[in-house]
Each structure stands twice: as C-alpha cells, then as structure tokens.
C-alpha cells in the first residue's frame, strides 16, 4: 500500500547508492514531474521512496572535451549549460516551470506511456555517445546509452551522464504551438569522435539511432538521400499526439533539414 511517509533523503551520491541497494521496492523520485501525478492518481503506489534532490547530483562539469551531468540536474540548467544538441532539446521540454523541476535522469528513465513516448532528451544523448553511470545490485557500472535504453532503467539508479563535446551539432523538430506539447517528432544530429550520429525522438516508445541514415552519410549520400533512409530505422505509429502517417511524411524532411544544418 502507498506509503507517503517512508521517504529516504540521501545527501551524497554514495548514500543514494547505498539507500537504493538493488532497487527492489524502491521508487526513485527526482523532479517528480512524472512520479507525483502517478501517485496522486493511484497509478503508482510506492512503499519506500528515494528522493534524489539533495544527493548532490545536480552538477554540470565541462572539461577536456567532455561534459559530465549529474542525474538530478534540472532540465533548465541544460539549456545554457549543456552542449548542443542537448541544450536545444532541453529548451523544448514542457514549459519554464516544468523544466525547472524535471531532471535529466528522470527524462532518461521516463517510462513510455501507452499513448505517447516521453524522454525527449534521449535522442540528443544518443548522438553525443552518452555514457550512463549507475548504481544497482551489481554495484556501479557505466553503460553506453544504447545499452542502457535497451535494458531499461529497472534496478538501476542513474548517478551521472557523460557526453562528448561535439564538433558540430544540429536538430530539427515539429512541435505543437501551445502549452505542454510533447515533441511530435524530433531529429538530433552531432559529430563527435565517434563520427556522425543521428537519432530520432517521437517515433516509438523511446528514442532510437538512425543507423541507416548514418551509414548512407558515411557512404557519401546527400542530406536529401540520407533523409529518405530514416524510414528504414523507425516505423512510426499512431498515438495520442500524431498519426504514424503524418510522421512518416515529415520524418525524411526533418532528417534532411538537420543534416543540412550540420554541414
């Protein structure tokens, strides 16, 4: 049964990892922008809660071509403090109040709903070759963002996200011109030491890399031709925000636009 009193408030990363243990029976609350409504509506009934807001995990450090971002860093801090295309994606999350409260860790771990995807920051993190440092039953470990997203956040407490500073970055998106628009579809592109990476948000339950587009680019394709390949990587579905058909029409153009801006 829901327990609103049993809340652990660790004051350091180590305490947080210790309190989290193997994660069983623990609900992590960072910004709470997803968790709190779920509790209110009885969709989530936490018995023991770990509140991350005081664990000192809210710092951004940029040095040596790298950027380290604490998991509980608010999205608003990324707008001015994080490399592109992460900063632009951060600026597009929700609204001012939500950005001030929502965290990057919560966005990375946001569960997709039945009706639409959440976690817009996953796409830029994919392009920046992010490494996810987390704690859990097997102790601390660092995963590539792709492995992390594939395995899902269960049993892991994200502590820090490390990304490369890109040489170049670009993005393109369709958003709805009113409040609280979750992104309909967005494309992030960046060139890091790992090469050019392209990722798509809004075309499935979580963001994915557009490897066919990347391959086409590597083979010398133009932005237009590479853009056409995007539909090999995703199969957009209808959801509460837009139709799959609409997304299929728009996606190649968005990819082309982002790639055009990249060069």
């Amino acid at each position: 049964m829901t327990n609103l009193t049993n809340v652990l408030v660790p004051t350091s990363a180590d305490d947080a990892a210790a309190a989290f243990g193997d994660g069983s029976g623990v609900t992590v609350v960072a910004g709470g922008t997803i968790v709190m409504p779920d509790i209110k509506l009885g969709r989530l009934c936490p018995e023991r809660t770990l509140y991350l807001g005081r664990a000192g995990l809210d710092r951004i450090e940029r040095s040596g071509g790298m950027c380290r971002i604490g998991a509980a860093t608010p999205v608003s801090a990324l707008v001015d403090g994080a490399p592109e295309p992460l900063a632009t994606f951060a600026a597009h999350v929700g609204d001012r109040e939500v950005r001030g409260q929502a965290t990057i860790g919560g966005n990375l771990c946001a569960p997709a709903t039945a009706t639409f995807s959440r976690g817009d920051l996953q796409a830029p993190l994919l392009t920046l070759d992010a490494r996810i440092r987390s704690a859990g039953s097997t102790g601390e470990r660092t995963d590539s963002i792709e492995d992390f997203l594939a395995a899902g956040p269960d049993g892991r407490l994200v502590l820090e996200i490390e990304v490369d500073e890109p040489k170049r970055a670009a993005s393109a998106s369709v958003r709805r011109p009113h409040a609280h628009a979750y992104t309909i579809l967005a494309v992030a592109a960046a060139e890091t030491a790992a090469g050019i990476r392209v990722a798509i948000a809004g075309a499935g339950p979580r963001a994915v890399r557009a490897t066919s587009v990347e391959q086409a680019l590597a083979d010398g394709a133009s932005p237009e031709d590479a853009g056409q390949k995007a539909l090999d990587d995703v199969d957009p579905q209808d959801d509460a925000i837009a139709s799959g058909n609409y997304r299929r029409q728009v996606l190649p153009a968005l990819v082309t636009r982002a790639l055009g801006d990249l060069s």
């Binding site: 049964m1 829901t2 609103l4 209110k40 509506l41 009885g42």
Partner: protein
C-alpha cells in the same frame, strides 16, 4: 445607460488577483470527508454482482453508496417538459458508458477513498458497445437503450420535424442539387476548475450544498428529486464557477455528495480529477448531418432536405432540447422557403453529451456554412455574394415560423468582407436588411415573406 460603453471594473476582480475568491474547493468545513467513485471500466456491460462490504470496513471509510441508497435513482433532465426519466444516478443492473458511476465512497482523505474503491467487488458481463451514430441508426443495429436506437418523445414523433412549403416541388424545379455530409466530433468543455461539490449536513436537518453548477435552480430540483426532499430543506451556495462553458449545466456531484453526507453525517466533498473530467463528464455531442439543397444556377436556395443524427451518448439528458435548437437554426442565417428536416437523438455507449457554447447551433452553423461554400463552388459563383443573396431580411419567415424584425446577416457579411478587404459587386455592397422587393423578391419567396403561411412545426417543446 451607465454601463454601456463604459469600462467598468470587474466586481470580482480584486478577489481573483488576491486569491480571496472562494471557489467550491476552497470552502473549508472541519471534518470534511472526501469522495471517490467506482466507475465502469467498460462502455457497455451488465452488472452481475456488486459487493461493497470490504470497502465499508476499510479503516477511514465513513460511507459507501450504491443505487440502493438513492431514494429515487432514475431521473430525467427534461421531466418538467413531460419527457420520461432514463438515467440512473448510480448504475443498477447495467453500465452504458465508460466512466459511469457505480458506487461512491466517502473517507477521511482522497487516498483512503481511492484505496476503498479498489476494494469494491464487481462482476461485469461485457456487451457489444455502439460508438458511431450513423451505425447506431442502421436498420440492423442492436439498440441497448430501453427506448430503442433513438429518443422517441418529440411529441408524437421519433424525430424533431420541420415541414415548410413544398420541398418535392422545389427539388423538381432545381437546376442543381448540392449534397453534403458533415460530422463534427465531440469536444470537452474543459473548464480549469474540475467538477466539485461539497454537501454539509446541518444540525437543523437541512443540507447546505456548495455547488459549481452553472444552473443553480435546476441543480436544486435535481437533488430534491433524487432525495425525494422538499426544496426548502436544501440550501444551495453557488455563483462562483471556475469556468463552465456548458460543462457545468448537468448536475454532476451535488446529489452524490448529499447522499454521502447524509449517510456519514459529515460534510463530504467530491472533486473530480482531470481524467474524470475528460473521460466521464459530458461533452459537446458528435453530430452527423446530411444536407441536400435544391438551388438554381443563379444562386437561389429553393429548398433544403436535412437529416441530423445527434449523439446523446448513453442517456438523454438535454439532447432533445439541443436538437430542437439545432432544427430552428438549420437554415443558418439564410432564407429557404421549402424545408424538410428530421433531427434524431441517437443513443451510443459514449458518456452522455450536453451543452457547450451555442448548444445544438454550432454544429449546424458549421455544416451550413461549409455547405454554402460548396454550393458556391458547384455553381461557380462568389461565396459571399451567394450568402448576401439568400441572407435573412426583415419580414422573412424562419424555419420555425419566426417573422424576422432585425436580422443581421447582411451587415455582418458586409462588415466581414470589408475587414478582409474583399471586393464585392456594386449591387451587393449597397445591400441592406430592408424588406425584400424587386429582384430580391422572386416568386418562390413570396409565400415565405408576404403572409404568415406555409410553415408548420410540431411545437416548441423538447
């Protein structure tokens, strides 16, 4: 004339900006319990078994009510107009829309009430739901409502009917017949204040009910009817509404909080969540409108045949009233002498529909205006000039036999054209609403203008 043209301060503005305005949810009465409802998860199902005993024993729960606790469970919004009742306050042996309330719990706080709702045991027998009004009207549709697929109480008829002039003759004489089907969908009114009500049992045996209703006296009557109480035992406090837009015309929370308050002998508040507001509250109805117009190649509307299907959702509520208003406006802002209109109220397994800004009229205006453009396109004539030509004028007779004394179609179309810089022909620019004469009084309009004849409606009731 102190107010017209003056910039008067809002009497409630200071309260709003200082947070002092007291909405229903802001009323604090010590000891208030919170209500939560068990709602149907199915759009259509039989209820085989309902057991609230575990919920009643749950710590912190003070009262649970089902249909058995309602002195008069079935009520109809239009009973005063002679329409029989069809909607239960709490579901009895079946549920007909997703979100229909079945049982309601009052507990110390919302979380406890929510837990208790989970403990209510109910067994459903799922049934095939109907969602599309057009399909619900098919000959082989299986109606679920005791009255059949359509509301049968328009006087002696099963539809709101308008018969005016000789439509068959108009269609004979027409150069062109222009047809169209229009289907606007449901819209949630979405006031920012969700439905909320607070009922307080008073020591003198009366009930004080804080209500966000848009229709105080109507709601009082509804509560009194369900409770089988005289009105003088109810004190309603209302008038501060956090937006309604038609969504707070139907009585949503008052009766249920009243029953819970009486059973628990404590004040009870019921505040809907945004989900409940979207999924369970009344919406503007979906409509299905089929129009066929008999027109001449120079742009006169000789006649119109129209069939409208209005989606009532699971129960009637105000639907027949909405369709009646709809019928009165089915010629839009234009004069058409020969009419045959049938408006049906169709039952589907959606949440019951109700008022929203221009109840019944917005749908038909939407259809008529698009249809006018379609006619203009078909005939290859200017869409604004088509409107001006057929515009209502002083002395014209409307579909429901109102003799117009101050119609505004002409000045409105002219002003709109002016604002958007639209060039109109000289004879149109000069047009006024003055009574018809000369070219604007062709033979086919004589009966519609000269005498009070030709129109026949079946009364003005529901």
């Amino acid at each position: 004339m102190k107010a017209v043209g003056a910039r008067l301060p809002r009497y409630d503005g200071v309260g709003h900006v200082t947070g002092r305005t007291r909405f229903v949810d802001d009323v604090r009465i010590p000891g208030t319990l919170w209500a939560k409802a068990l709602r149907s998860p199915h759009p259509h199902a039989g209820i085989k078994r309902l057991d609230t005993s575990k919920a009643e024993k749950h710590p912190g729960v003070h009262a649970v009510i089902t249909h058995k606790d309602v002195p008069r469970n079935v009520y109809g919004h239009l009973e005063a107009l002679g329409v029989p009742a069809d909607e239960p306050l709490l579901a009895d042996d079946d549920v007909r829309y997703k979100g229909q309330p079945i049982a309601v719990v009052a507990a110390e706080d919302e979380a406890t009430a929510l837990e208790a709702v989970e403990l209510i045991e109910v067994e459903f027998e799922e049934r095939e739901p109907v969602f599309d009004i057009r399909k619900a009207y098919d000959a082989d549709a299986k109606p679920f409502h005791q009255w059949g697929p359509a509301f049968p109480h328009f006087g002696p008829y099963a539809s709101r009917r308008i018969r005016k002039g000789d439509v068959d003759d108009a269609f004979e004489r027409a150069d062109v017949i222009v047809q169209g089907v229009y289907r606007p969908q449901a819209i949630e009114q979405l006031p920012i204040e969700p439905q909320v009500g607070l009922s307080v049992p008073e020591p003198d045996g009366r009930l004080t009910i804080y209500s966000c209703t848009q229709a105080m006296y109507f709601s009082m009557g509804v509560v009194a009817a369900h409770l089988e109480w005289p009105l003088n035992k109810l004190k309603f406090v209302g008038g501060t509404v956090g937006g309604g837009f038609g969504g707070k015309v139907d009585t949503a929370t008052e009766t249920i909080t009243a029953l819970l308050a009486l059973k628990a002998n404590r004040p009870v508040k019921w505040r809907w969540t945004r989900e409940e507001e979207f999924l369970c509250s009344s919406t503007r109805a979906p409509w299905h409108m089929e129009l066929a117009d008999a027109v001449t190649s120079d742009g006169w509307l000789l006649g119109r045949k129209m069939i409208t299907l209005h989606d009532a959702g699971a129960y009637t509520r105000f639907s027949s009233y909405g369709v009646t208003k709809h019928s009165f406006h089915h010629t839009g802002a234009y004069t058409i002498p020969n009419l045959r209109f049938d408006g049906y109220v169709i039952y589907t397994n959606r949440s019951p529909t109700s008022a929203m800004r221009g109840f019944g009229v917005t749908s038909v205006s939407y259809a008529v205006e698009i249809h006018m453009n379609r006619i203009a396109e078909t005939l290859g004539i200017d869409p604004l000039e088509l409107r001006l030509k057929n515009a209502n004028r002083i002395g014209d007779l409307t579909a429901n036999r109102v003799r117009l004394s101050d119609p505004s179609t002409v000045p409105v179309v002219l002003a709109a054209a002016d604002r958007i810089g639209y060039e109109l022909g000289a004879e149109f620019k000069q047009m006024t609403s003055e009574p018809r004469s000369g070219d604007l009084l062709p033979d086919h309009l004589l009966t519609s203008v000269a005498r009070d004849g030709g129109a026949e409606t079946d009364g003005r009731g529901a």
